[in-house]
Symmetry: C2
Subunit: 600 residues, 2 copies
């Protein structure tokens, strides 16, 4: 039997039935596309995932990247994969045709990333990083720059990276020290250290294009002095040849998971000969980078949800095949043992995983739709969707990432002792998913972004828009007798969220910013559960409406949807009670706790 | 600076001040012992842990056991370690002097296991398994058997194992198929497969003694037909020499963590020449095994708490040294970055870890004390402590194991990207701790044990005794103005627990056993939080009383205790609200969910 790492049925249910992406084809940019084309794209992605990515999942985990003679050797399949990604149009899936892209909606491109990441997360990141870097060059670079880099990147010949982090500047980008000195010819000489750079160097491509943050000599202190540069591993010399650009890989990190992609430390310009090319205007680097950040963060959430999906299907398959014990109350030992999926506790573990996977994916596609609409629309509509995207991005990044730890852990638990062994892939998923609460802004950073910035920005407009969106789903659900009680439950939770938010904002005024933000991570968790409940109610509305006319097989899927929806409202949504209790508690004990009190 | 993996101050605080183990010296068995001796024992354990165990933590993870020419090669240090464990009296720490043991209270022996496990979990399991097996032989074996095996085991020359699990019988021991045929000479010929046997074979010892479950020919079906055998890897032939006993290691599992100890699959008696020796009476094997199970399960909880401790101290050290960002509101970039331990969110992550580590350890020592008292006392007192131990064992096994996943994950988060890399030990702790919710009975099994058996047994007597114990702590705490509010909070939680328990038992009557036990895992989690809150209130009573007269350094430790206690009541105890909501919910959706609804 073919290994299943995601549900195509569910992906289509979400894209077409819940989020109605075909509505995007009413806009000029996508007028010549249609549902069938989107399905063909996903089918092709799934084919690539099954035939090329999944088969090397374990190999890429075991044959980890190594630094040899100054350059990084990765799994030998990576070169061919990059070629396939390039030739298949996957790197440029959402790029405009004028740049050689496929001009697909972001929602469709994100769905293909989900497919790739579910098959093999490490392998999926090479094109994703490249697309992110190319996107920046298109958005802010000159025509010459676009011409010099983008075609080679979208074709998979060159790797792209995001080179932000430094040894002493991770979460605090204000403190980066990489420097850029004007060379007099329009270019800059870059000098510094970058650390934890994914895909920072490897032998699966002919060149690596770093999108790098650095400070121009004399720049203002802090984030206002950060500029963004294109810094290639090999620069193009006047004769058009590629020559070394004074970047040395000083280390490849050996990691818990996500082991197929080389995470590198780079020494830049040690010989004073690293040429960097300013992207856009000086000192606007962080703002530029943040324009890409929403997409990168959705990508992280997508990666986490995808790994969680793969672990869930591995657990599902195992629990169907493994017999152990009998139904409670079934005492006759002459009866054969039953598949463990028949035990209620195992079903609970599977429903938990499914509820997180499908709830997360729904949110991520929702956010992708907002991004598409913000891109396509004008005026108020554009603003509305951009604000909703901004508000929900920290949730869409963090909820799948944090919950992915728990769901992959439950996948291990479904397999018992076997889950702990290398004989099954779940232990790898457990390791792979653990990166997601860390990279592209830790969960703590996302919490502060949500509570400290997004919820209050523009006078709370984003938060108000979110409440309207959820309110509209609640109103819709209330029309169905099967969903009315859940609609009430979500409405109560939403009102509580409003109260907690108001309480927190008042606390900011009375107790200052440190107390206000001390539990921002908990607020993010709290907010996230309600957001996912909303996505589940949206799904339930559609599933319920489809049930009556469904075929037998379809009915099984839809009934499972409804059970998973009920699971979420019965088991997950109540977790807000405990979080709310803490968020309304005014004892600022984590602020008052002194570091010396950890001594003994 | 020396690496810290546990707090000796805290261990002594719990043993002496909270649980008052010196009270045990009033009993004859321990009359010649005293506090100073207990401290010397722990000091010696810590010395061994620091000098011999911790230094090979990473090596044992990397140089994993391999099957070579039919036998298992482990890290070369294991042989010497077993010798040290034997000569130092560590294997027989709690064994009576008549068997060559040190005759220490179990609470002290458990404290030493905690020390060893915190330094190097894999290395700590070799003696622990050996002690468990030797204990069974002493409890149920003949004098000859004791003489033949126990001295070689307590001296570390021979390894002991628990050989229960089979390929088709893990959680369901009723279904084991290993067979034992009477050989006519008093011995049996054993035949079967055993899987996931920790320490099942290795070259650090001269022999391996398996305590093995098997069914004697013609035995009743199910658990009533299980007998317990001593089955050595090499048996003693009539001339007194060790000869092969027809046990073949067919596999060494490669695992996520806990990689220093070889987990093996054994083929037993393939040539019909495996001699096994019945322990005690026929068909009582499971009952015998379960007499050791409490201790083994406490050992698992101890191992999880110990790993969580090591991860916590690694995170604490890192957060003190790593500078990043500034205090919220501190805008001047000319100010240096602050150690990240100064950020409230990081302190929250550390308090979470500390609250779990110290709460778990307190419960485990509490249970060890109950075991000691049940062993030392007679009549009602004996019964009382045995019942409390029985009731709390599933919690003491599961709470540290499940929470250890989360705390070691938070330790990784404290280190950010570095936490994900092999350069720091936290990623190993994260892998090592994941075994604990699986071995010695999964969390699901513990939940059913607690709700389906322990809470209701003897007419609910254990549960009533537990309520009295907690009630007594609450009454004590209420006398202190600083603790009265927390005492009220715990009392409210305890009353809710009683109500939830009553509701569940009524549900058993009205809806049958499957619905009754469907959420047993959640009940265990719910129960566990309240149990740990109780342990924190006990600690707070002592810490509060000591604060006034404490030295400056001691005051810092005690103040940290009080903050951690407040953390638990403010952040962890409220989690019962969501769990309670589900446990009172009567929708049996995980029972009704059909396995086909997972199809699409």
């Amino acid at each position: 039997m073919e290994t299943k790492f995601l549900s195509e049925t569910n992906l289509k249910f979400l894209l077409h039935d819940v989020h109605e992406i075909s509505a995007l084809t009413e806009y000029d940019a996508y007028r010549h596309q249609n549902r069938k084309m989107f399905d063909m794209v996903m089918g092709a992605a799934l084919d690539l995932a099954k035939t090329k990515l999944y088969p090397i999942l374990e190999e890429m985990d075991e044959n980890i990247p190594e630094l040899l003679d100054g350059s990084v050797r990765v799994h030998s399949a990576v070169r061919n994969l990059m070629k396939e990604y390039g030739e298949g149009g996957w790197i440029g899936a959402s790029f405009p045709e004028q740049y050689g892209g496929e001009q697909l909606p972001l929602a469709v491109a994100m769905a293909t990333r989900y497919i790739f990441a579910a098959a093999n997360y490490s392998a999926s990141t090479f094109p994703e990083l490249t697309a992110g870097a190319a996107h920046l060059i298109i958005s802010f670079g000159s025509e010459d720059m676009v011409a010099a880099y983008v075609p080679n990147m979208l074709s998979g010949k060159w790797q792209g990276t995001m080179a932000l982090t430094e040894p002493e500047a991770g979460s605090s980008l204000a403190d980066i020290t990489a420097s850029a000195s004007p060379a007099g010819d329009g270019s800059y000489r870059i000098k510094g250290q970058k650390i934890f750079i994914s895909g920072g160097d490897h032998d699966g491509v002919d060149n690596v294009v770093h999108l790098m943050l650095a400070k121009i000599d004399g720049a203002p202190a802090g984030v206002k002095g950060i500029s963004l540069f294109v810094v290639p591993k090999k620069r193009i010399d006047p004769a058009g040849a590629l020559v070394g650009n004074d970047i040395v890989v000083s280390q490849v990190f050996h990691k818990l998971g996500y082991r197929g992609n080389p995470i590198t430390q780079l020494s830049i310009g040690e010989n004073g000969d690293c040429h960097g090319f300013l992207l856009g205007e000086p000192h606007k680097g962080l703002a530029y980078m943040f324009q890409m950040m929403n997409e990168a963060r959705l990508g992280v959430g997508m990666g986490a949800a995808a790994i969680a999906s793969a672990a869930y299907y591995a657990a599902l398959e195992y629990t169907r095949g493994r017999t152990q014990g009998r139904k409670i109350g079934q005492k006759n030992l002459a009866d054969p043992q039953v598949p463990i999926i028949e035990h209620a506790d195992v079903k609970r573990m599977l429903l938990f995983q499914r509820s997180v996977v499908e709830g997360s994916l729904s949110l991520l596609l929702q956010c992708s739709m907002y991004a598409d609409l913000a891109h396509l629309q004008d005026g108020e509509d554009k603003t509305k969707h951009a604000l909703l995207l901004d508000l929900l991005t920290p949730v869409a990044k963090s909820y799948p990432s944090e919950m992915g730890i728990l769901t992959t852990s439950q996948a291990i638990q479904c397999l018992g002792g076997y889950g702990y062994c290398k004989d099954f892939p779940v232990e790898q998923y457990y390791r792979d998913v653990r990166i997601h609460p860390i990279h592209e802004g830790t969960t703590g950073i996302q919490g502060m972004d949500l509570l400290g910035r997004k919820v209050t920005m523009h006078g709370g407009e984003s938060f108000n828009l979110f409440n309207k969106e959820v309110g509209s789903t609640i109103a819709h659900a209330r029309r169905s007798p099967e969903l009315a009680a859940s609609a009430d439950q979500l409405e109560a939770s939403l009102i509580e969220l409003q109260n907690v938010t108001r309480h927190k904002i008042e606390q900011a005024a009375t107790s200052g910013p440190e107390v206000f933000l001390a539990d921002a991570t908990l607020y993010l968790e709290y907010f996230g559960i309600i957001v996912i409940a909303w996505q589940w109610l949206k799904q339930a509305i559609v599933a319920q409406s489809q049930l009556e006319k469904a075929s037998r097989i379809r009915r099984s899927f839809l009934t499972g949807k409804m059970f998973t929806f009920r699971y979420f409202f019965a088991y997950e949504l109540p977790k807000t009670k405990g979080l709310r209790s803490r968020l309304l508690d005014t004892d600022p004990l984590t602020v008052r706790m002194e570091s010396s009190f950890f001594n003994d």
